[in-house]
C-alpha cells in the first residue's frame, strides 16, 4: 500500500479520535489520525478531569451510569499513570432535600456503583475542606484523570501499533465518488502544503467541530454547542472529589487534579461561530465562586489560577429535530444506513469517561465494514506508561523525580538526568526539568510551547509561565528553527496564558500578572500588552 492509503482515517485528535485510532491500530488496521491543532485541544483538555464513577448520572440515566463505572474501573487498570484514586463525596447541604440521598445511593448501587452513605462527621474528617454544614454524605468511587496524559498515551500507543498521526493538519475537503467517501484533503498549517489521503472508511471524531466535518461529507448532525466554564485554584483545596447530592446543576463539582483543584461547570448554549476561542465571562466566574464555596468554603478566599471553558458536543436524537431531547450517551452514526453516504462514520456525544467504549463501538463498526474480525483488546492492554511504579515516601529523592514519575508513569525512566543541566528546573512551580523537556520534544510530538505545556505541565503552575516560558523557549531546538520563531512562539504562549488569567485578574493573580508583564515587556522587549487578550 501507498503511504497515502489507509484502512481507516480518523478525524479529530481529541480523546475520542485517539481512542478510536488506538483501537483500530490494535486490531491491525492501517490508521491515519488527523488533528487540526495539537492533540487534546478541544473539549478533551477543557473539562474537570473527573474520573466519573457514574454516580452523577445514576438517577437520571442508568445506561450512562453503568457505562461510566465500567470504564472507570477499566481506566484504573489500563491508565494508572493518568488516574488518581481519590474517591468522591456527594454531599447534602441544609438547603438540599436529604430524602434524595437514599434515592441517589440506591440508584448508584443498582448501576453497580458502590455508594456508601457515611456520617457527615466522618466526611469532614476524611476531607477537612468540605462544607462543615453538610447534613449528608455519600462516598462513591470518583477519582481524577489527567485528560492530556490520557490522550497522549492513546496517541502514543496508536503510533506504536503503526498508526500515522498528523497534527496541525486541517481537513479541507472530504473526497467522494458518488455516495462513497474515498478520503480527505488535508492542509498542513505549518508548511502550507495540501495532501490527499485515502481510506475505505473515514471516521468523524471531531467533537463539536464534527458538525462541520459531517456537512463536508454531505451529512447533517443536529448538534448543540454548550459552553462549560471552569476555575482552577492555586493549590489543592480538597483531596476527595466533592459533588452536590442533588439534580446536576452549575458549579457542583470540585475535583483535585495534580497540584490544583478544579471547580465547574456552567452550561450555556452558544452559536457554532463562537466554538473557537470561547471566553469565560465575569458572570460565570461569579456564579462558579458563589456556588463553589458551598462545596468547600475555603474556595471563597483561595487564589484562582485561571479560568477556562470548553464546548460540549451535545447531540439531539435523530427523531427530535427541535433539539430538546439531548442525548448524553454515546452517538455512533453509520452514515451509510442513516444518510446513504458510504465509507463515513461519525462518533460523537459521550464523555471523556467513555472514550474507550466509543472507540470500541466505532472500531467494531469499522471492522464490520472492512470485513475484519479482530476483537477489541483496549480494555485489557495497558497504555504506555501505565506500568506500576513506586511512589513511596523517599525523602532523598528530588521532587522533580517524583513529579515526572507522576506525569509519565513507567515512561519516566526514559527521561535522561545525566548532567546538571538535565537536572535543572525550567518550570519551578510544576517541577519540570530540562531533561523532561528534552524527552517531551524527542518523543511526544511537541511543536510549540503550548504543546509542551500539555505534555509536561510546564507553565501550568502558579506563575503561569512568568519564569519558565522564556527558559523553555530557548530549549525547543526542533520546534524553533531560529530565534525569531522562538520569540513568536513565546509571545503566543504568553498570550494564551493571559487569556485564562484575564477573567480572574484580581488580588494575587493581578500582582503576578503585573510582574509577568514587567518581565516580558521590560526584559524580553515584548512591548505593551493589549488589555484584552487577542485571539
Amino acid at each position: 500500500m501507498d503511504n497515502r492509503e489507509f484502512d481507516v482515517i480518523v478525524i479529530g485528535g481529541g480523546i475520542t479520535g485517539a481512542g478510536t485510532a488506538r483501537d483500530c491500530a490494535m486490531r491491525g488496521l492501517k490508521v491515519l489520525l488527523v488533528e487540526r491543532m495539537d492533540i487534546a485541544t478541544g473539549a478533551t483538555g477543557r473539562n474537570h478531569g473527573l474520573l466519573h464513577s457514574g454516580a452523577r448520572y445514576a438517577v437520571t440515566d442508568m445506561e450512562s451510569a453503568e457505562e461510566c463505572i465500567r470504564e472507570n474501573m477499566i481506566l484504573r487498570k489500563i491508565a494508572r499513570h493518568c488516574v488518581e484514586e481519590t474517591d468522591g463525596f456527594f454531599i447534602t447541604l441544609p438547603e438540599d432535600d436529604l430524602g434524595y440521598q437514599a434515592t441517589f445511593a440506591a440508584a448508584c448501587n443498582a448501576a453497580g456503583i458502590k455508594a456508601e452513605i457515611i456520617d457527615p462527621g466522618l466526611a469532614r474528617r476524611i476531607e477537612p475542606s468540605v462544607n462543615p454544614d453538610l447534613i449528608g454524605a455519600v462516598r462513591v468511587p470518583d477519582g481524577a484523570v489527567d485528560p492530556f496524559r490520557l490522550c497522549a498515551a492513546n496517541v502514543m500507543d496508536a503510533k506504536l501499533h503503526g498508526a500515522k498521526v498528523l497534527v496541525y493538519s486541517v481537513v479541507t475537503r472530504i473526497m467522494k465518488e458518488g455516495d462513497t467517501v474515498k478520503g480527505i484533503e488535508v492542509l498542513d498549517t505549518r508548511s502550507g502544503q495540501k495532501s490527499e489521503y485515502y481510506a475505505p472508511i473515514t471516521v468523524n471524531a471531531g467533537g463539536i467541530w464534527g458538525n462541520a466535518i459531517a456537512e463536508m461529507a454531505g451529512a447533517h448532525i443536529n448538534m448543540f454547542p454548550a459552553k462549560g466554564s471552569l476555575l482552577i485554584f492555586e493549590h489543592r483545596v480538597n483531596n476527595v472529589v466533592i459533588n452536590r447530592c442533588r439534580k446536576p446543576a452549575n458549579a457542583d463539582i470540585l475535583v483535585p487534579g495534580d497540584t490544583v483543584s478544579v471547580l465547574g461547570t456552567t452550561s450555556t448554549k452558544i452559536p457554532f461561530e463562537e466554538c473557537d476561542g470561547v471566553r469565560v465571562t465575569a458572570d460565570e466566574v461569579d456564579l462558579l465562586i458563589s456556588e463553589g464555596e458551598k462545596l468547600a468554603p475555603a474556595l471563597a478566599d483561595t487564589r484562582i489560577l485561571r479560568a477556562y471553558a470548553g464546548v460540549r458536543p451535545l447531540v439531539a436524537t435523530d427523531d427530535d429535530p427541535s433539539g430538546r431531547s439531548i442525548s448524553r450517551g454515546i452517538v455512533l452514526l453509520d452514515h451509510e444506513s442513516r444518510d446513504g453516504i458510504r465509507g463515513f462514520v461519525s462518533i460523537t456525544g459521550g464523555k471523556l469517561m467513555t472514550y474507550r467504549l466509543m472507540g470500541e463501538w466505532t472500531a467494531d463498526l469499522v471492522c464490520k465494514k472492512l470485513g475484519v474480525s479482530q476483537a477489541c483488546r483496549t480494555a485489557e492492554v495497558p497504555l504506555p506508561g501505565s506500568e506500576p511504579v513506586s511512589m513511596e515516601k523517599e525523602p532523598k529523592k528530588k521532587i522533580f523525580a517524583k513529579a515526572e514519575t507522576g506525569r509519565h508513569g513507567g515512561l519516566a525512566s526514559r527521561i535522561r538526568h545525566e548532567n546538571e543541566l538535565q537536572n535543572s528546573l525550567v518550570c519551578e512551580c510544576e517541577n519540570v526539568t530540562v531533561g523532561e523537556i528534552e524527552y517531551a520534544e524527542d518523543n511526544l510530538d511537541v511543536n510549540n510551547l503550548v504543546d509542551l505545556r500539555r505534555r509536561t505541565r510546564f507553565g501550568m503552575g502558579v506563575c503561569q509561565g512568568e519564569l519558565c516560558a522564556c527558559r523553555a523557549a530557548g530549549l525547543l531546538k526542533k520546534a524553533h528553527r531560529c530565534s525569531d520563531e522562538a520569540m513568536d512562539d513565546l509571545k503566543a504562549f504568553i498570550e494564551e496564558r493571559w487569556k485564562g488569567l484575564y477573567p480572574v485578574n484580581w488580588g494575587a493573580a493581578m500582582r503576578e500578572n503585573e510582574y509577568t508583564q514587567w518581565v516580558y515587556s521590560g526584559m524580553c522587549g515584548f512591548g505593551e500588552y493589549d488589555t484584552e487578550p487577542t485571539e
Binding site: T259, M391, P395, I399, E428
Partner: protein, 409 residues
Amino acid sequence: MNENFEQCLKCTVCTVYCPVVPVNTDFPGPKQAGPDGERYRLKAGLFYDDTLKYCLNCKRCEVACPSGILIGDIIQKAKMKYGPQKTKLRDAMLAETDFMGSVATVFAPIANPVLAARPVKAVMDSVLKIDHRRTFPKYSGQKFVTWFRKNMAAGQEKYPKKAVYFHGCYVNYNYPALGKDLVAVMNALGYGISLIDGEKCCGTALIANAMGKRALRQARHNVKAIESASDAGRLPVISTSSTCSFTIRDEYPHVLGVDNGKIRENVSLAVKFIYSLVENGEVKLVFKPGYRSKVAYHAPCHMEKLGWNIFSEELLKMIPGLDLTVLDSNCCGIAGTYGFKKENYEKSQAIGKPLFDQIGKVAPDFIACDCETCKWQLEMSTPYKVKNPVTILAEALDLDATAKANNHQ
C-alpha cells in the same frame, strides 16, 4: 493558610537573600522549599524533600518577601509534619538545652574542660557528628536563677516599677553575667525584676530540629508561666536574647499554633524596652565620664525579623565616647544548633565569612550583638569578644548616678 503561601509572586527575592543558597547547592532555596514545595506536599506528603533540613530558620527570606509570606514557618512546619519522625540523639542533645544545661552546670568544673578536651571532641565528632572544630559555650558553676534567688530577689520589692525577666537558657546555664547586668541596669532605672516561675527554654532549638511535640509542650507551658508571672500580660516581660523574644512572640502562634494573645504585645527585648523609656522621657541615663570604645554592631537575623535592631543601634549611639559601626546585614552562619552539626560546619563558616571579613576590616574593640549563638560563632571565628548591648550599657552607665537621676535610692 496563615502562612499566606499562595500570595507568592515567584519573584525569587527570598532565594536571593537566603544565606544557605550560595554555599550549599543541595538546598533548593526558600521559594522552592517553601511556597513551591507546599503545593506539592498538599497534593501528597511523599513530595517532602529531605533538603529542607538545610534551612537555618534565620527568616531572612521572610524579611525579603514583598508579599508577607511566612516562608521560614512553612519550612519548619513541613519538617515537623512530613520529615523524619525520629530525632537523632545528637539533635536531641543540642536541642534539649534545659536538660543539658541543668546537668552541665552541676558538673561545670568537669564539664567545661571535658567538652574542650581534644579526645572528647574527637569522640563527639565521630560518634555524635558534632563538629570537633566548634568551641562549646562554657557552662557556669552557678545558675543565674540560683544567684538571683540568693542575692537579689528579696531586694526587688523596693523599686517603684516592675518588670519580668525571661532570662533564657544561655543566661541561666552559660553566662549569668548578662543577667546580672540586666538586673543592675533595670534596678538603676527604678524597675524591680522578677523571674518567671518554672521558665523553660523558649524551644527555638526544638523547632529547628523538628521536635514539634516537645516544642509545643514547652510553648504551652511558657505561655501559661508568663501569663501568671506578668499578671496576665499587664507587666512588661523583657529578655536579653533576640531569639527568645522572637520565638515567644511569633514562632509560638505561627509555627506551633499556641495562642500567646494575652502576652505577646508585652514580650519585648530589654533594649527596646529601655529605648522606649528614654524616648518617652520616663527615665534618664547618666553615663560614666571618659568611657571610650570602638564597637561593631551585628544585627542577628531574628532581630532583623523583629525589626528591632534599630533599638540596639540607637541605644548604643546614646553612649558618649562609643564609636559605632553598624555591620552589613549578614547571617553569621551558626543559626543556633545548625553550625554545631558536623555536616553543616563548613557551610556555616562559609555563610559567616563576609561578616567575619568585615569585622576584621573594622577592627573594633569588641562586637555588640543581641544573640548568644551569634556570640559563640563570632568569638570562635574572629579574634573579638562579643557583648550584649545590655552589658555595654551596664559598663558605660554610672549606675548610682542613674539611680539618683531616676529619683530613688
